[in-house]
Structures are given as C-alpha cells and as structure tokens.
Symmetry: C2
Subunit: 347 residues, 2 copies
C-alpha cells in the first residue's frame, strides 16, 4: 500500500483512551479543566455560530447533530437519546464528536463523547452552581442516580466544594450503585428513601431523571428559600421534571434561550417568561445570586458550545500523550486533483 | 484493560480499506451497485426525512452536515468545500459519513467518504443520464478535468454505455492527468484544446469545474438540440456554470427542489421556474426524455439520500470482508446506568 500523507490522518480518541486520559490527569482535574474551558468559551459568546441542534425524532428516541464554530475551529457532536435503551442493556445516550479546522475544512480530532459528555454535563452544572449556589454550600441532593449522577457529585465536589451528597432514585438499586461508586471519592454519601428526605438540609438540589415524559420529580413544597436547583433531566420536548410552581418562584438561568424554550423546564412557561443567560452572569453583565432567600434554577439542556469546549480541551490534553490513534479517514492524494490516480495506484 | 462489549465497536472503513473494497469488487461494479442503491432509495422517496443540509460558511469555504433517515437507518455526511485548498496541496472536498440504527441510536458504520462521494456523485450523474440522455449516446464531453472527472467518465461508461470521452480543462495539465488515468479504462479519450471542440459530436455534456463564482463554462451557442447536460459544478450559492439562456431551452431535472433552488444552476432563475424531480422520473410518474430535439439538464447538487444510499451500499459490501476495522467509539458498560463504574474499573 501507499502510505497516506500526515494530513490524511485524524487523531482519534477511543473510549479506552478517553478513560486512560481521565485517569492520567485525575477525574477532578479533568472536570475543572473542562469547566474552565467552557467558562472561557462562554466569555467569548459572540464569536460563536449558534445553531439550534438538528434533531431526527422517531417513536423511540432522537438522534441529534449539534454543530458550532468560533471561526477558527468547527465542532459538532452526534448524540442519541433513547430512554427505552436501558431496559435493553444499552446506553440511553451515546455520543461522539469532531473538531475541524475552519480554514481548510479538514477534521483535526475525532473523539468518543459518551464519557466526555458525562464529564462536560457535570462540569457545566458545577460551573453554573459556582456562580449561582449559596456561598458555603456543603450538601447536595442528587435525585436520579443513573449514569450521570456520580459525575454530577464529583464535579460539585471538585468545583463547588460540596462535601455531602444525599441520593434518591425511584429504583433503590440505582442509589446503591451510585453510593458504591462514590465510596472512595471523599464525599459523605447518604442514601435516602424518599426525595423529600434527600432534599432535607441540601443547599443544592440536582435532578437528573430519564423518563421521556412530563414528570414531577420536585413539587413546590419540597423547595425551601435560598436553594439552588440544578435541573438536568428536563432536556427535550415533552420531558420536564419540576412542578411549574417552582419555576414561578425561581430566577431561571439558561444556556441558550431559543433552545431551552423548546427543550428545557421552561417549555411549561409562557414564551416570554424572563430568563437570564449564563454567559451574561459569567461575564459579570448580570448578577447571579442577589439574595439569601432567592431560589436560583439552572435549566440545563446542554448546548453545542459546551461540547465544543470539551473537545477543545481533549485536543489540547492529548498532545504529547499516547492516548489517541491516527485514523486514516481522509483521502489526501499528492496531487489534490488526482483522487482517481490515488485509487489506481492503490491497486 | 476491560474488553468493551461488541456493541461498543463501530465498523470503520478507512480510505485504505475503501480503495481495497473498490478494487476487490471492481470500480465499474461498485459504481453500478451504488447507482442501483440510489435508484432503489429514490423509489421510496416518501419514506425519507428530507432536511436541507446544515452549512457553516466562512470566507474561504463551507463545512456541511447532511443528515437523513428512512425510519430504520439514520445517516449523515460531514463534507467541506474549500476551493482554495487545491492551491495549498489539499483536497477541495473531504468527507466522512455515518449510519446509525434508528431504534437504538447506536452508530453501525463510520466510513471515509472523500473517495465514496466521488463514486456516488458519478453514479448519480450516470443514473440520471440513463433516464434522460438520448438513446444510443456514445460520446461525452467532459469539461473540467479535476478530481471528479475520471469517476464521471467511468460511471457513464459502466452505466450508460459511453465509449468516447472528449476532455477539456482551462488547465491542460488537468486534461493530461485525466487522459493518463483513463488509459487502460477501455474508453476512447480525446484531449481537446477548447470547450467548443470538446462538445463537438457529444450527445452528453458534463461540466464539473470548481470555481466558487458564477462562471460561464457553457454558452448557449455550444448546445445543440437533443443533448443531455450533466451540470455538476454549480452546487452552492453564487457558484454556477451555465449561461442562463441554456436553462431556458432545457427541461431541468433536479434531486430535491428546495436545495437545488439555493445551490444549483437554477439559482439564476425565477423561484417558480418549473423543474422535474428525478424520483418522479425513476418511478415513471414523469417521462424523462420525450423528444429527439429536447435538451435535458440534470442540475446536480448532491443530496443527502445519495450519501445514505452509498453508505448503505458500503455497509452491505463489507460484510464478510476484511475491509473494515472495529472502532472503540461507544461506551457500553455492562450496566448501562453504570458509566462511572466502567470508568472506575478501567483504572
């Protein structure tokens, strides 16, 4: 065979290599690094092309492409959401992503993103809470103890200084799994029998459940003054977690309003209900928490820039490491007009 | 390391393996196979989700995602178009694509598509010509002798029975390259000094030039009665190849009108100018060629379903061959809710 030129190869980070990379750096430090990169990118919000995700819906789930660009790098994520997958032994969400050079259009990174999305979602939540949660918060209620839950707990530990987590899931086996996984994390873990029990004494309440339907994971009477709510699971049309009374009592913070109004908790509200964009808070154009009794709510849906930041972080992190393989994904003939000649010579 | 489960692996067809696959089957037979699959898919047109491509434009080029789905399989292509790349020794177009299972959202094929797009574009052109070109056509003028030209010639040979090609390019070196590449193809090749010379005696005229500007590769007086024009190069806003007088004399056939009106030759015409959809011709709902003197024009821009068909073809063609590698792209923990545990155990 002829050896493809260097440009023909795209660095690829497999799941195996992503896990090695995370362990080589430490999970806490990776979460912090991703949160820092997201904040950095949110601070240059206007430089980004912001396209709503391109979704292909079916009866059982959705497949989405989430593209964005800052004019230098272009990135997109492929992600599916299939709530019924778990019952079949499959992941609800799998994902991969790509970065490309805007100047040439050539891909420069292909990466698994099932693992990476778990990290960036947790990093984004903790980053928002760093700006919104009551100062000195030590305890988080974690409602919904699925695949995302441990990452949330670890990110709030690393980024917000949370020391205690109170777990609840309608399936006690999920709680047991989550508690076992967090055993050596340094977090004090309490398994709770009800969601009411879980929120008791918590300054931060994270909801991350997976049903594709309007659910009421939190009711109004469960929410005391001054808490920060981190609502992860309400993230597609018809899927919400909070009773709307909670929304009316909260200051609502979002990533990108045109997307959140369709996919987030606020789909239950009037289209003009006021929301605050997180990039304005990060940049100091808007104050996050203004009062002790204020209820702040991060209505998280996951935005393309966060994936872009996470991929950018990985692109830098793999430099000089063995945690990627070159993938022969691009035809790059010596003479760019001679694709056919390249094929002929490969005979 | 723990061994990922079978589902965690996505079959990946590299450029090297794509070329091996093409040679193992023969280029002609691959072109025919792709054309047949495109025709098959165009015959079930209504089953497809038809989204216009999602484009990210910059000063120097465009990066596009082209998704579609037939309800069973979901597919998308990543493709860039950077006309200035050639001068820098890079490909104008590079591409890769993916197929996924709609039921689970899990990817089932990742493939290079720089080479594959060259094949599917040529196969689509020849498929259209099979329905539109004058019966018994033997000679094709090939104007623009870049990376796509030899594939066009070979597809028209394999699918339409073309025996003679007449080459012209503003750069004689491109023509020389094209002629040399076609030497053992069985085609009679004539290098021409002007485009007027190239079209002399041709029943089919293919234009495939690359400038991102409105060019006039063909003028009205060059087009005699009864020819079929296969216009490939006019494929994005501001990029056309034909004088509009030719358009007014032709019956115009297109892939998907909403896209062609933005990207094709017909962007020069009124938004209501009549066009005929090729899937209607393939299905017999519309007659293609109705008279000897009729000028037929395929205003090709390239549509997502063609990429879907090409990927579907490759997915079948690699079965039982060594022409793919399993790519560890999906995290697939034993317990789908236990992504964190999978990470922990990989330590």
């Amino acid at each position: 065979m002829l050896t493809p030129s260097k440009l023909a190869y795209v660095p690829f980070v497999s799941v195996h290599n992503m896990m090695r990379l995370i362990h080589a750096n430490g999970l806490s430090s990776m979460l912090i690094r991703i949160a820092d990169t997201i904040e950095e990118d949110f601070l240059r919000w206007d430089e980004f092309d912001k396209t709503p995700r391109v979704a292909s819906h079916s009866d059982v789930g959705v497949i989405e492409l989430m593209p964005t660009s800052d004019g230098e790098l272009y990135g997109f994520k492929y992600v599916n959401g299939h709530p019924k997958n778990t019952a079949e032994g499959l992941q609800t969400v799998t994902a991969f992503g790509l970065l490309a050079d805007v100047q040439s259009g050539y891909p420069v990174l292909l990466s698994e993103m099932t693992m990476l999305t778990a990290l960036r979602t947790a990093a984004m939540s903790a980053l928002a809470a760093k700006h919104l949660a009551p100062k000195g918060a030590t305890t988080m209620a974690m409602i919904g103890n699925g695949a995302q839950s441990e990452f949330q707990c670890r990110a709030f530990q690393a980024i917000c200084g949370i020391t205690h987590v109170r777990l609840y899931d309608i399936d006690p086996a999920a709680t047991k799994k989550c508690a076992a996984n967090l055993e050596n994390s340094g977090l004090h873990v309490t398994a709770c029998a009800t969601s009411e029990d879980a929120v008791a004494g918590a300054q931060i309440i994270t909801t991350c459940t997976a049903d594709k339907q309007n659910a009421t994971v939190l009711t109004d009477n469960m929410i005391g003054a001054g808490v920060h709510i981190n609502a992860i699971g309400g993230d597609c049309p018809g899927k919400t977690e909070l009773h709307s009374d909670i929304l009316y009592r909260s200051d609502i913070f979002v990533e990108y309003p045109p997307q959140t109004r369709i996919e987030g908790e606020i789909q239950a509200l009037d289209a003009h209900h006021p929301v605050i964009e997180l990039h304005d808070v990060f940049a100091g154009r808007h104050v996050g928490r203004i009062a002790d009794k204020q209820i702040t709510l991060f209505d998280s849906v996951g935005f393309a820039i966060e994936d872009f930041s996470a991929l950018r972080c990985i692109k830098d992190a793999i430099q000089g490491t063995p945690f990627f393989e070159p993938l022969d994904m691009l035809a790059d003939p010596d003479d760019p007009r001679d694709l056919y000649g390249m094929l002929n010579r490969a005979k």
